[in-house]
């Protein structure tokens, strides 16, 4: 998740040297969104959204919203797939067709989905330390290149650009709606809510660190122009003679977490689809959904220029925070007002 965020943190041009303040705002907004999403899951412990939606929203509206959620996850997943493949073709494999990476990535992700969320989680356990160490090295390596004068003057253009600059990174956290499908995996949802919120906070902190390093290194004029500021940071950073031109290593480490992230979204998508269609073994949907995902990913964004347009607050912000999130908020309010109608089976057991 972090990598997709670090692509966009400095993307909004007018915010310029105040991007780090935007990142600070995100560090509040991101966890808040995560907490709200998990709050809905807490109302229905042990159930996925697909299971309780008909009870909460009715026989007609429930499945419709479920389909919308799945489409949203599909869009997020394929967008991520496109971003990842685009990142590879943009940085290392300039000669290789992008479809190669889409196919390979979706193949790996589909295998991950077939193995189940437990395996994906364990993969995350292994990859996260690698990610953290490599990221720390990259950030530390950029320190000699810093010029702290770049951040001045602080908020020269007022507060508004800063807030608008925070919109897109914050909007990214709305994709955590997949937690509504994953939540029943853990036995204690309340604890999971705390963990997820802190995880979102940690992600925002890493993003903040990236924003600071990119700003200090490239300055407010160059930084917004990069499509992959994090990658360029890794590219120019060096640790004496020890670490030079090894930008592909951070890229590899970040890709590891990218695969885990994509697998999580794909797992939620597969499981949700399976439940909605009443398929008992949702794993059989992994490869079909992956094969649908590839053309969708190709269609999602044409190139990185369009990608930059898409992540502009006026599009991404309106789409995520203006359309998707309000729908979720309405559902949450409904759930809180209706006091979480209990599971029919549970009610029957209570009656006896």
């Amino acid at each position: 998740m972090v990598i997709s965020v670090l692509l966009v943190i400095t993307a909004y041009d007018p915010v310029r040297q105040d991007a780090w303040i935007s990142a600070l705002i995100t560090a509040v907004g991101g966890p808040l969104i995560t907490w709200l999403i998990m709050t809905l899951a807490v109302q229905f412990p042990g159930e996925t959204f697909m299971e309780y939606a008909p009870r909460l929203l009715g026989k007609v509206l429930g499945p419709i919203v479920s389909v919308l959620l799945l489409l949203f996850l599909m869009e997020r997943g394929t967008f991520l797939l496109r971003t990842f493949a685009g990142m590879l073709t943009l940085s290392v494999y300039t000669q290789t067709p992008i479809i190669v990476f889409m196919v390979l990535t979706s193949l790996v992700v589909a295998v991950g989905v077939r193995h189940g969320i437990e395996v994906v989680g364990r993969l995350g356990d292994i990859f996260t330390p690698i990610y953290l160490v490599v990221t720390a090295v990259v950030l530390a390596a950029s320190v000699p290149l810093w010029d702290t004068q770049w951040v001045r003057p602080i908020m020269a253009r007022g507060v508004l650009p800063v807030i608008i600059g925070a919109v897109t990174p914050t909007a990214y956290f709305v994709e955590k709606l997949y937690l509504l499908i994953l939540a029943p995996v853990v036995p204690d949802v309340k604890r999971a809510r705390t963990v997820a919120t802190w995880a979102a906070f940690a992600a925002s902190v890493i993003m903040l660190l990236f924003a600071i390093c990119v700003l200090f290194t490239f300055g407010p004029f160059e930084a917004p122009r990069f499509s992959l500021p994090g990658y360029y940071l890794a590219r120019i950073a060096s640790l004496g003679d020890l670490y030079e031109r090894l930008d592909i290593i951070p890229l590899l480490a970040w890709s590891l977490t990218m695969v885990v992230h994509l697998s999580v979204i794909a797992y939620a998508l597969t499981k949700g689809t399976g439940q909605l269609l009443g398929i008992r073994d949702h794993r059989s949907l992994a490869f079909p959904l992956a094969s649908i995902g590839i053309p969708v990913a190709i269609m999602s964004v044409a190139d990185f220029a369009q990608f930059r347009e898409f992540v502009h607050p006026s599009i991404m912000g309106v789409y995520m925070l203006g359309l998707v999130f309000p729908v979720f908020l309405i559902i949450l309010v409904v759930a809180l007002i209706r006091k979480a109608p209990a599971r029919p089976s549970a009610r029957a057991k209570g009656g006896k």
Binding site: H115, V119, G121, R122, L123, R245, L246, I248
Partner: protein
């Protein structure tokens, strides 16, 4: 028409039946239903038919006692029994000394009297069923039959020739016990018992293989081990129905959680100290007769990269060596693939001077780096296999051919570049650091998979295969224990004996990722401190 056909079929069936000689399964079922009678002559005849006048069957008929005297017979398999012992102790007692003490034999039945007074053997078992007698005789027991008795006495007189306890061939070390398992189960058992003297160490006997009747034993320390694990091992072993078990590899393949994985999910070792340590950690060992390789379960991937010596040396040294072993395992898998990826796709990552050197060395080589690597790795695999299979006498000539001719002359002939030879040789040496042979096999196979991926797509090709292998590893379990524990799922206290080897006084708990009944290994106060 149908009627005629049916008649024809019945006719054919009737004719076929008496012609077919009985299969072994039918013969076994037959002998299982057959028991000894009270007639000595008939009993001897029964055993003679059972063994089919096999040349190693010895039947010695004699009489016990004077008046009354009982005709008796001692039946043995030649070469399986200690002939000297059975002649001097067993037969002389029965033939000579029973005669002197005639009165005491009278009141009870002759068998009970023999059992309690005359047979100077530690293990005597009463048996009536013919099939069990047959298996016991083949295992080196002597059968004593007395006329008028429906029961035979099986005396344990094993005395077959076997290899003595020697240094384990496949797992060597500097500061390690030199004893290794042998092919005889009872010796192996004693090697373990000598290291774990608590009477709670239990051995459970079973026989696997319908024809070989191989003795197999489950070992565990009662009170540490989780009984559910023992039950699971027992269940999986009991399910095996095969004609023969000649090595523990048969069992390994049939009790593994994921038999198609190239990663070993059962640990095999020929070191008694390793097995004893595993038992005290709450694991279960499976001993198989006829092989020095003992299985222990459950096992995790990191544990297979630990040598027993790690636990006998200073913890800093052990951690240091272990780190290199981990790196070597990774290099043994990824080395050639990363090299090929670098020289093919990512030349900018190699330091400039080295790039020139590599490019210059590759000048005369007609193949791409990938084909070159594939060729050299194949040569290495063939050399290695030849090194294992070749008769020891031709060993020295083989070394000359392998090292000199192939190594030096492939470069001179322009078939491979010197840098490739270095990489492949480095890979080979790295793979020899692996203390578990079976795990090394997985790295040998994956090396080729990574190589193909690296040749096609560079480092990200390797990356995709790493992801797939990683997912596979994360999905594996060995008797319920996740294969990558304690790394995934992360167990911080478990890292004390994986990521590094903590000093012994810190390893207070047994491996926390195992399900065991008693987790505490030692007292907290074991750290040496000035009084």
């Amino acid at each position: 028409m149908v009627h005629v056909l049916r008649m024809f079929r019945r006719f054919r069936r009737d004719r076929a039946k008496p012609q077919r000689p009985p299969t072994i399964a039918e013969l076994q079922a037959e002998s299982e239903a057959e028991f000894l009678t009270s007639n000595l002559k008939r009993n001897i005849a029964k055993i003679r038919t059972l063994f089919g006048e096999s040349s190693d069957l010895i039947v010695r008929e004699f009489t016990i006692g004077d008046s009354p005297s009982f005709p008796a017979a001692m039946i043995q398999i030649d070469g399986m029994v200690d002939a000297k012992f059975s002649a001097s102790e067993l037969l002389s007692t029965l033939m000579v000394e029973t005669r002197l003490a005639r009165s005491s034999l009278l009141p009870r039945t002759i068998l009970d009297a023999l059992h309690s007074q005359a047979l100077a053997v530690t293990q005597v078992k009463k048996e009536q069923q013919l099939s069990r007698i047959g298996v016991a005789l083949s295992g080196g027991d002597s059968l004593l039959l007395v006329d008028g008795e429906k029961t035979g006495l099986l005396c344990s007189t094993q005395g077959f020739k076997h290899r003595s306890v020697e240094e384990p061939q496949s797992e060597s070390g500097v500061r390690v016990p030199r004893e290794g398992f042998t092919e005889v189960l009872s010796i192996n058992r004693s090697l373990i018992r000598r290291r774990v003297r608590d009477p709670r160490l239990r051995f459970e006997k079973m026989q696997i293989g319908s024809v070989t009747q191989t003795p197999v034993e489950i070992a565990y320390v009662h009170g540490i081990v989780d009984q559910a694990l023992v039950e699971e091992v027992r269940k999986r072993l009991k399910k095996i129905d095969i004609d023969g078990v000649f090595e523990s590899g048969y069992l390994e393949a049939m009790i593994s959680d994921n038999p198609n994985s190239i990663f070993p999910l059962v640990r095999r070792t020929e070191r008694p100290d390793t097995v004893a340590a595993a038992l005290t950690e709450g694991r279960v060992a499976i001993l198989t007769d006829g092989t020095p390789f003992t299985l222990t379960v459950p096992v995790t991937l990191p544990e297979m990269l630990h040598a027993s010596e790690d636990y006998y040396t200073h913890w800093v040294v052990a951690t240091f060596v272990r780190t290199f072993r981990y790196i070597s395992y990774a290099f043994a898998m990824l080395g050639p693939a990363v090299y090929v990826a670098l020289v093919t796709f990512h030349q900018e990552m190699i330091p400039t001077t080295l790039t020139h050197g590599v490019a210059a060395a590759r000048e005369g080589v007609p193949f791409t780096a990938a084909i070159e690597a594939f060729f050299m790795l194949s040569v290495f695999e063939v050399l290695r296999e030849a090194g294992i299979r070749l008769p020891r006498i031709v060993g020295s000539s083989m070394t000359i051919v392998g090292a000199l001719v192939l190594g030096q002359q492939t470069v001179n002939a322009g078939l491979a570049s010197p840098s490739m030879v270095v990489v492949v040789a480095g890979t080979a040496i790295a793979s020899f650091t692996n203390p578990t042979y079976a795990l090394d096999a997985s790295s040998r196979i994956l090396r080729f998979a990574y190589l193909i991926a690296g040749a096609l797509l560079g480092l990200f090709g390797i990356f995709f295969v790493v992801c797939l292998v990683g997912m596979h590893l994360c999905s594996l379990r060995s008797f319920g224990v996740p294969y990558l524990s304690p790394f995934a799922p992360l167990n911080v206290s478990g890292l004390r004996d994986t990521a590094y080897r903590a000093p012994w006084w810190v390893l207070i708990m047994r491996p926390p990722y195992l399900t065991i009944r008693d987790e505490k290994r030692q007292d907290v106060s074991n750290r040496p401190r000035p009084e």
